[in-house]
Symmetry: C2
Subunit: 127 residues, 2 copies
Amino acid sequence: MSPSQIVNDFITAVEQKDVDTAVALLSDDIRYENMPMDPIIGRDAVAATLRMFLEPASAVEWPVLRETVDGSCVMNERLDRFKIGDGWLELPVAGVFEITDGLITLWRDYFDMATYQRQMAELTAGD
Amino acid sequence: MSPSQIVNDFITAVEQKDVDTAVALLSDDIRYENMPMDPIIGRDAVAATLRMFLEPASAVEWPVLRETVDGSCVMNERLDRFKIGDGWLELPVAGVFEITDGLITLWRDYFDMATYQRQMAELTAGD
């Protein structure tokens, strides 16, 4: 599989909330960096983080708006959408992925944390 | 010039705080989108915004860490650095650029606004 295919299979697995399939595409020493937060290192730690993010969502859609590739590096522009209760949380994201030997070794997402937090607070205000 | 050359000439002009040279590489109807903020539309509005961002900085460095290109689209990962007083504000950014007829028509930057605001407050606290 090409680096682009690997990244897009990973995103599809996330959309299906299939964490086992998703993390099988990551290297043992994967670095997952949400830029406003501390890096998360290792496949098991990423699996735990993904489950935490995905658990409150009844549906997940991460449409890729643009994708550019240079060798082992894939960058994409996405709108990560999470259905929370009756509404959708929508987070504009730019992602950077590095692929080595058919596995993702770096996943780095750029986004505005307050944009996420504000929507999450609104969507869970009634709970 | 290739789309990559146009984007990198634009960044070099920004680093030199040469706003006239920078905006000459933008289309009349340029859309400049800092994702946490409202879009800025038109060359004159972008020039005014750039002057506002660059004015407090005695030096500006926007090293490009990665760049990927697909036709008219250039994406890059940068560390935008601004020298403010005796310190450096450092903002991790992912940028998306669209180029048409040799001019940049879309400039979209993904970053965490709080990361910018927190450093700016620290660096100007003594003023």
